[in-house]
Amino acid sequence: MKNAGTIVIVVVVGFVAFFGFPFYYNIGKANEAPKLKFDTPAILEWEKVNGKKECVEPKEFMRGEHMQLLNQWRDSVVRNGDRVYVNSQGRSFTMSFQNTCMNCHSNKKDFCDKCHNYLGVKPYCWGCHIAPKEKQS
């Protein structure tokens, strides 16, 4: 075949154009990052008493490592029976997903689900742990 080279080029360009479509179509149209809400009654109450909104560990740590923290809490409570967590500031908390975490973050739909849905992760916490009762906002 005389024009084999042309055919190969056309096929390659066509392939890239077709399968690369989602990438260049979406260039510059990044989805808005999820905005989490920290305005539950328990969090506002905490802010009133302690002067600021804070979690069991600093925000940056919780954002990146809450899954590891939850796994640590789970193993500590279920396997070892240790239920009190003393954080890096020396403050203690009861390690309980349903009673401590979800007491403050009683807005699962505006907190947990926002990021998890955005990133397409489906944690199976809620198969057993009961989610707080709330209205969709």
Partner: protein
Amino acid sequence: MSMNRRQFLKIAGVSTVLGIGGGTVITGLRKTGLEASQVSPDPRALKAKRWGFVVDVSKLKSDEDYQKCIDACHGIHNVPDIGNPKDEVKWIWKDTYERTFPTTSEDELMNKELKEKKFFLFCNHCAQPACVRVCPTKATFKRQDGVVMQDMHRCIGCRFCMAACPFGARSFNYRDPRPFIKKENMQFPTRMIGVVEKCTMCYERLAIGQQPACAEASNGAILFGDLDDPNSAVRKVIASKFTIRRKPELGTQPSIYYVIGGADHA
């Protein structure tokens, strides 16, 4: 590409070192930020070497007395009431003498009252638990204080433990239990389809200094205490009255002692 023996060994050696050391380098570099934190038990927690029960059924007069304990347990632990025996999930239940102690010698002349009496059954929290030996994921394990614990996060639903348990103390979630829970206790999780569950000796109550719910609701019919402590209430009863355990010949060393020969007659 051709390679001589010497080159091959060099590359293999370097990759092995990288493979073994690589993981440590990555974990070591990752900032976990948890170094300053620590965990400890709740100071209120009840402590023992080997928790156990004494069940004195003579103190249970009516069906209501039984039901009170069953409801107390099933209520706080979100145990579903599925309503058909095939899918039934139970942590504590009652049954006849014959079915509670099937291996004791049968006797037609036996005290009729005792024969018809209902006995409380729940996990024996055996000292040598068969369920723990067979669990492939260590989802069920023996705690230091004698509780045979069930870690729902690890249970893969293989049901080996159900086959191993000689006391039928374990239930499998053949269906999603959520729709069958009348009133959810928001402080305690439910289970999901495909896991095995059983009595966990109210580990969540022991941790904050409370007795198991059944013992608390039983009005003295279920005594709870440390079997390792000769001065505990349970040991005193065991020392002074005739007690039997379920299927002792199997060697699992159950931690529930039944007082036989009701206080009415003895």
